[in-house]
């Protein structure tokens, strides 16, 4: 079966981000960009399904500025077969992303779409279930384990109190949690090979989608800063201060 894997280009998770001085957003110029970590897990899972003979073709999709092609190349180097880049300079929010992905799914007819559970930039955690809704498909969010058996996929989900296992009719949407797998590093030969794999360029209009954002960012503020407090010299002093000064125990 065909598997689609959307991948997002985000500020690298090691970067200490800063709010712009004009409060219009987060400073992203000159900052290292990488694939969203949960999307790496999604690519890895798709590649493992192909290695097991379950998946036949993996299509990596990214959306946004032309440099998103680099994120697709990373997925291709990990083992995806081809890419689709939807190029736009509009600030894409999850609803628009879900609509664009639905249009691509209508053309590509995959049986499975694997996404990260959240992007570490906007922390929305929304695109996966939204795409499932638009396609009318089942959804297995926060997956830590999955197994395909015929036209059903069994998914173990990370929920607040532990784990939940559900059986979903295919086609289906999966979103990845941390423990689904550990993504591989692309080898040099695979990085070279990835350069020859095709990436198809599209625009939102080609897919019949109006990507206009529904949320306007009025401003972005720095979070309230916590001040460093005091060092205590011993456990006894700590307990005494928690009792008499902070009064929390």
């Amino acid at each position: 079966m065909k598997v689609l894997v959307p991948v997002k280009r985000v500020v690298d998770y090691n970067v200490k981000v800063r709010v712009k001085t004009d409060k219009s957003g987060i400073e992203t110029s000159g900052v290292k960009m990488s694939m969203n970590p949960f999307d790496e897990i999604a690519v890895e899972e798709a590649v493992r399904l192909k290695e097991k003979g379950v998946a036949t073709e993996i299509v990596a999709i990214s959306m946004g500025v032309p440099q998103c092609a680099e994120t697709i190349r990373t997925a291709l180097a990990m083992g995806a077969d081809r890419g689709i880049l939807v190029e736009t300079d509009v600030d894409l929010q999850p609803l628009a992303v879900a609509k664009l992905l639905k249009a691509i799914a209508d053309q590509e007819q995959p049986q499975l779409i694997i996404l990260g559970k959240q992007a570490i930039d906007d922390d929305m955690s929304a695109t996966g279930p939204m795409l499932a809704a638009l396609l009318g498909w089942s959804q297995g969010t926060f997956a830590s384990k999955l197994a395909v058996d015929g036209d059903v996929i069994t998914v173990t989900r990370e929920v607040d109190g532990g784990l939940e296992t559900v059986a979903l009719n295919l086609p289906s949407i999966i979103t990845t949690d941390l423990r689904l797998n550990e993504p591989r590093y692309a080898s040099l030969p695979n990085i070279m090979r990835a350069r020859k794999k095709p990436i198809d360029n599209k625009k939102p209009a080609d897919l019949g989608v109006d990507p206009t954002p529904r949320l306007t960012v009025v401003r972005v503020d720095e979070p309230p800063k916590r001040k460093a407090g005091q060092k205590v010299g011993s456990v006894a002093e700590l307990v005494s201060k928690l009792r008499t000064e902070a009064k929390v125990i």
Binding site: L95, P129, T141, D221, A228, Q230
Partner: protein
């Protein structure tokens, strides 16, 4: 127009994150609550007692067992025309169901709000809480998840809402619950606890988390962990506090053997009082801690347990 809050509950009552969502909803209009599932028992009665809730809608049907996203979203979409805002807490349940509802309504959801400015404008954290974005929605109907740690929950008692059953239409049957493996613990839930004690990579292995237990017992605390401790396999993922785990804001947060990566700070920096115990005095956790103890945790934890026992 009224606002609708999807509630979560357990046999002891309405869960605290949902009561925080009700608190957030109160500033938006008259609050109706929805309890949904199969064999609801006392949940509707518990919901009717929440202060500020005027009506409780009850959807009790086998198809809603375990509140799978596909039927639950269909139910909320059917109820949506009567409401200006649909809310739930930012929990595994809320994050699973509400974006699905939003897409079906052609609405951009507003995830994890920390503040209500007005009916269209909200503040929400981005980049692991390193920015607080004020966003204004142009959608006619809003679909919102609420950061429970940012709103004081309404009390569990004091209200007297009317209870009304929902007439259910056809619900999609494309998913099936198989099983749940929920950790059994006598301790309070992480997101509801007054005190949280968390261990990090410095704990060295899962067995050493036992050192946190006598302290947690004494303080009535929940036990949490950093992502590093979860990734290392010391404890299950439901212990995780941080950007990709649970967000907590207890009265007292004790971080043990946690260096203080920004992803962890994102999950606990709104705690009222933070204590850090770490042998590395350069650890970033000390920059946010009210009380820092530079010490070997394997010495300090037994001492702390004994000191709390003494008095």
């Amino acid at each position: 127009m009224a606002v609708l809050v999807l509630l979560e509950f357990d046999p002891t009552g309405i869960k605290q994150p949902s009561r925080s969502a009700v608190a957030a909803a109160q500033s938006l209009g008259e609050v109706h609550a929805l309890v949904a599932g199969a064999g609801l028992g006392d949940a509707a009665a518990a919901a009717a007692k929440l202060p500020g809730v005027t009506k409780v809608l009850v959807a009790d049907a086998p198809a809603l067992d375990h509140l799978l996203a596909e039927p639950a979203a269909a139910l909320l979409v059917a109820l949506a025309p009567n409401y200006s805002h649909i809310l739930a807490a930012t929990t595994a349940v809320g994050k699973n169901i509400l974006p699905r509802v939003a897409a079906l309504l052609d609405v951009q959801p507003i995830s994890d709000i920390a503040e209500v400015i007005d009916a269209d404008t909200f503040v929400r954290p981005i980049y692991a809480g390193n920015g607080m974005a004020t966003v204004k929605s142009s959608d006619a109907r809003k679909v919102i998840t609420v950061r429970a740690a940012s709103f004081d929950p309404v009390a569990a008692e004091g209200g007297s809402a009317t209870i009304e059953p929902v007439a259910l239409g056809e619900l999609p049957g494309i998913s099936k619950f198989i099983s749940a493996e929920l950790s059994k613990s006598e301790r309070p839930e992480l997101t509801a606890a007054r005190v949280v004690i968390s261990g990090g990579r410095g704990m060295q292995n899962g067995d050493n988390f036992a050192l946190l237990e006598p302290i947690a017992d004494k303080l009535g605390a929940a036990v949490g962990a950093s992502r590093a401790a979860v990734d290392a396999g010391f404890v299950p993922n439901e212990f995780q506090v941080g950007q990709t785990g649970k967000i907590v804001a207890p009265e007292l947060y004790i971080a043990v053997g946690i260096s203080g990566a920004i992803q962890h700070l994102a999950g606990m920096k709104d705690s009222k009082v933070i204590v850090a115990i770490n042998k590395d005095e350069e650890a970033p956790i000390f920059q946010v801690a009210d009380y820092g103890l530079v010490a070997d945790l394997f010495v300090a934890l037994p001492e702390l347990a004994a000191e709390l026992e003494r008095s």
